[in-house]
Amino acid sequence: MKKVKIIEVHENVFNSNNVAAEELRHELKDKGVYMLNVMSSPGSGKTTALSKLINILKDEYRIGVMDVDIETSLDAQKVADLTGVRALQIHNGGLCHIDAEMTSKAIEEFGVDDLDIVFLENIGNLVCPAEFDTGAHRNMMILSVPEGDDKPLKYPLMFSVCDLVIISKIDTMEFFDFDMDKAKSNILRLNPKASIIPVSAKTGEGMEELAKWIRAQL
């Protein structure tokens, strides 16, 4: 009969990524670079809101943007056109998320020594990016009004890992049954420490408060 040799591992599969993320976070901090990871469903308004936010902040800080997209280089180009800041498109080979190792490589390629803030626009997806620490100093996510106030209940992990939840497209409130108070209480129940800022990238409402939140992190 065959004998079996068992090697006990008992290791969380996400552990190696968490270690790599912690290293990257320290490395960036030592360089004086602050990285923000921006997550949301597809089309919630990451690129639009980021462009507006960067235009408010770009005279105070040196800013760069890295966009992860499965196929095209649309978003990086768009942000660069709208803001004039340096942007890098990361192609991640069709995966549903970006992890710390991929982020590290992108940071190296991008070159961040001359920057104060790097925004990382993650893949539009509410599940997988939440599980992979990218090494960013803060996580923010965007919940847009058309998606509904029940999203925190359906994607709890995403809302639990975020330091800031931006409720976007509030100019469309009148067309949707979106209950702002309910959305806020759903978020805070999962994550009592989360900051919540309602904005419209279209009208500019709330954008100054968002900029203020970023300044307070630096």
Binding site: M1, K2, K3, V4, K5, I6, I7, E8, V9, H10, E11, N12, V13, F14, N15, S16, N17, L95, C96, H97, V127, C128, F132
Partner: protein, 121 residues
Amino acid sequence: MHELGVTFYVVKDVKKVAKENKVDKIDFVTLEIGEVSGVIHDQLIDCWNWARKKETVTESAELNIETLEAITFCEDCQAEYRTVDYGKICPYCKSENTYLLRGNEFNIKEIGVYDEDDEES
């Protein structure tokens, strides 16, 4: 899609453990997955069976999955109950003031190697 991303991590970790233990071919890998981790077992096994062929060390390794029960704790009445049966609402006091104690795990439990030349007995 999610399962594929996770599979790469399993492969990476398994390769690392194999190297540390000087094993060049693995026969099985056992994962412990929490009931509410959101991973679909059949999909994960499909992804594994595709990914394992890319490396000699994993190519013949079967994937076993052990499920860990999910338990939720009620802050109001201090009871524990099975998450899969009752979700977020405590079955004893109907409170929503509950949180997951365990059931979210995604661990590599062990890897196994069949020893062909059996010396000891």
